[in-house]
């Protein structure tokens, strides 16, 4: 229950400057304009974060040139980015990508990590497959030894930020059948590697993702991250940290939705009075507020917990899933409430609320919906008792 106050202050200062920067460079019209042109590289704010602000390393270990802020720093960054709908590619490149590289060091990994922090590389984590639903071991892509390296084959689906990425970290099966816990490996694949095909598209929140096909992709030995066949614990950790990161992002997204909705009901009049005077709407706002406050409080508690080096994988899973449940519930309550209270205007692309609601909706499902995480908590409870 104790945090270094100094570090908290530093972090708050950095996030303030980030927020100001985003206000200035990444307003909603600027965002829409930039995304319309962001077919193959992230929008310009990304370079600003890396170069002008130098913020990409705040969470990373000091050994890697970071500030050692850990998950608490990721959470603070993501919340601020969420407030401006700017989470990608921080999530894929830094939280997940750099996280995996940090924990699986090596010549290639170290170089890429440094480049990512400097804004020179964008990483996408190519893990999900079409048939997987949210099962983390459901990997059919294969990695087989081939000469003095490997051969990678398989399909990955909805790879976030892929069209912007310079590198993919790809999960594949060295052995075992789909859904088996063992036998998974991670490899680093530069985007322009022969045999990589991409079908890029926008996602509902306006950013980019892709289907990716790896057909007979030949990789050198040192493309392997970590141990062959032992990647699942790393995948689990990366996805748990990604989950908590979007939980923190959700706080930023929902605070904006809440603010806009409160503003709207105060000024919108029907039947001669502001609609804020209707008790049913007041209670709905109270419920939205409580859902948001609970999600935010639990998310920051769990972020702190995750920075405990002695934390076991099951405790981490349990805590992250609980946070995701609260966040998914809150995203539903706040997102749906924001639309309903805006009436028809909430259904359009013309106000910010429509854009924030779509991101909130995607966050509900990202890394598994509430039902998936509830079942995980139940499973962990059974194995703990």
């Amino acid at each position: 229950m104790s945090t270094s106050t100094d570090q908290e202050d530093t972090l708050a200062m950095l996030c303030d400057s980030l927020a100001r920067y985003l206000d200035d460079q990444h307003s909603l019209p600027q965002r829409l304009h930039a995304l319309a042109q962001a077919d193959s590289a992230p929008p310009p704010f990304w370079q600003g974060l890396a170069n002008e602000l130098g913020l990409l390393g705040v969470a990373l270990a000091e050994a890697q040139g970071g500030l050692g802020g850990g998950m608490a720093a990721h959470a603070a960054m993501m919340e601020t980015l969420g407030g401006a709908l700017a989470a990608e590619p921080y999530l894929s490149t830094i939280v997940i990508g750099a996280g995996l590289l940090q924990r699986n060091p090596g010549a290639q990994a170290d170089v890429l990590l440094a480049r990512a922090v400097a804004g020179q590389a964008v990483i996408a984590f190519a893990h999900t497959e079409t048939q997987g639903w949210h099962d983390r071991a459901e990997v059919q892509a294969t990695l087989v030894p081939d000469g003095d390296g490997f051969r990678l084959d398989g399909r990955k689906s909805v790879v976030q930020s892929a069209p912007w990425a310079s590198h993919f970290i790809v999960s594949a099966r060295s052995s075992g059948s789909a859904r088996e816990q063992g036998g998974l490996s991670l490899v680093l694949v530069p985007r322009d590697t022969p045999g990589v095909r991409m079908r890029p598209y926008a996602t509902r929140d306006g950013v980019r993702a892709a289907e990716i096909a790896f057909d007979g992709v030949r990789l050198p030995m040192d493309a392997l991250l970590g141990n062959e066949g032992g990647a699942l614990p790393h995948i689990e950790q990366a996805l748990d940290e990604g989950t908590l990161a979007v939980c923190a992002e959700a706080t930023g997204v929902m605070r904006r939705l809440m603010r806009d909705t409160l503003d709207y009901v105060r000024q919108r009049k029907q039947f001669g009075v502001p609609i804020a005077s209707f008790q049913v709407l007041q209670h709905r706002l109270a419920d939205m507020h409580m859902a948001l406050e609970q999600a935010a409080a639990l998310t920051s508690s769990v972020a702190e917990l995750l920075d405990d080096a002695e934390l076991g994988a099951e405790q981490r899973a349990r805590a992250v899933s609980s946070a995701k449940v609260a966040v998914a519930k809150a995203c539903k309550a706040v997102g749906q409430g924001a639309v309903q209270l805006h009436g028809g205007m909430g259904m359009t692309e013309e106000l910010a609320v429509g854009h924030y609601v779509r991101r909130a909706t995607l966050i509900e499902g990202l890394f598994g919906p509430a039902s998936w995480h509830l079942r995980r908590v139940a499973r962990l409870q059974a194995s703990a008792s």
Partner: protein, 397 residues
């Protein structure tokens, strides 16, 4: 739940099935399946409407003398079920279901002759001018003005949320013909040619990326005096009659069809799961919950059909139906998004989903479109807050 049909009802159901098997083209079924909004777009909707019209089924609920079918309430219900199951396009009801009943109730013989045949055949396509930017739930506060000038009304102002205005050639519209007094007074109901000069249409893109809605601007739009339906300044009673009508109709057939799709999607999503995996079992329970909820709504709708057959006034039943149907519809699309999994995030036209070896599941894209569109189900046609106000007022009377 499988309700017991009489032999005559079974025969009618088979007749409808035969018709659908014969007349509903594969292309129209695809269009129906991909319709994630409330209605299909003009082209597919009207194509199907014309096929129905040829069979005499485009306006089944109208009085027989105007071209209705004279079906029993149960026949209407069976028809709606079969049409839903077959994935027929959903035809926008502004003509057949909204303006036509008020034309029949309030129109002169000349107006009926002028407007009903075009609706029935599909030659005319109507849009509705009710809401305004400042008048949503509080419809009576509307400000769009019509002033008499010789043989014409001159309309100035704006209407919003005008579904399919981009396709329409006719509009029915509430305008203020007198100010002062109670807000409900001085409103008139006009029907006119939507191609009249001075009308402009601004598209409104919804959060699902669809273009169904529009804002309409009137700039000295001159429409003839016989555009007036009912009496001048008495349009509020016409408007209310229409709202009552709009809220009627059964939700269950569509809900059942959506649930069938969920079952199919869940079977696909969890096809490869181990027996020990709980995801499929957990989802089955939630599908059962929806199924039971549909049973309950269906029972009230069937009860309503019987009451209707006995000539009872609908009372608050349409409001109940609106609340229950729309919220269940929203729960279904929530679940559909969940079943679709990560692919639900993908934003692309459904027609583009299939592509060589990197096909994206159309059902996932549909799921999110439907989810986003369905957020409006508790807003349009009288918000669910307003409907609950109506229900409470009635039971507290």
């Amino acid at each position: 739940m499988a309700w017991k049909l009489s032999p005559a009802e079974t025969a009618f159901r088979d007749e409808v099935r035969d018709f659908l098997a014969r007349e509903l083209t594969p292309e129209l079924r695809v269009a129906g399946r991909r319709c994630s909004g409330i209605f299909n777009d003009y082209e597919d909707g009207i194509a199907w409407h014309r096929i129905l019209a040829k069979r005499g089924w485009s306006t089944p609920k109208w009085p027989v003398e105007h071209g209705g079918t004279g079906w029993s309430p149960m026949q209407h219900y069976i028809f709606a079920s079969e049409v839903s199951t077959a994935n027929a396009p959903r035809v926008a009801p502004m003509g057949t279901g909204m303006v036509a009943p008020v034309i029949i109730a309030f129109g002169t013989e000349a107006q009926k002759r002028a407007w009903l045949p075009g609706i029935r055949s599909g030659d005319d396509y109507w849009c509705q001018g009710y809401s305004e930017p400042q008048s949503g739930s509080d419809l009576a506060s509307l400000q769009c003005k019509a002033v008499r000038d010789g043989d014409h009304y001159v309309i100035n102002g704006t209407k919003i949320w005008t579904t399919h205005a981009q396709y329409a050639n006719k509009m029915f519209c509430l305008v203020r013909t007198r100010s002062g007094g109670k807000a409900q007074q001085g409103i008139s109901f006009l029907c006119f040619d939507f191609k009249t000069p001075g009308i402009t249409v601004r598209p409104i893109i919804s959060i699902s990326g669809d273009h169904e809605l529009n804002q309409v601007f009137f700039d000295d739009v001159r429409v003839p005096l016989d555009s007036l339906l009912g009496e001048e300044d008495q349009g509020w009673s016409v408007a209310k009659y229409l709202l009552q009508h709009e809220r009627g109709g059964a939700w269950t057939p569509m809900l059942r069809e959506r649930l069938r799709r969920l079952h199919t999607a869940a079977d696909t999503a969890f096809a490869h799961r181990d027996a020990g995996d709980m995801a499929a079992a957990d989802m089955a329970l939630r599908l059962a919950e929806i199924e039971c909820a549909i049973d309950a709504v269906e029972a009230t709708e069937l009860q309503q059909l019987r009451a209707q057959a006995r000539g009872e006034p609908p009372g608050i039943r349409p409001s109940m139906g609106k609340v229950l149907g729309s919220e269940l519809r929203q729960r279904i699309t929530e679940l559909a998004v969940e079943i679709a999994g990560p692919q639900a995030a993908i934003d692309m036209p459904m027609a583009d989903c299939e592509l060589d070896d990197m096909t994206v599941p159309e059902e996932a894209v549909f799921a999110m479109s439907a989810y986003l569109n369905d957020r409006a189900a508790s807003i349009y046609a009288g918000t669910n807050e307003v409907q609950r106000n109506i229900i409470a007022a009635q039971i507290l009377k």
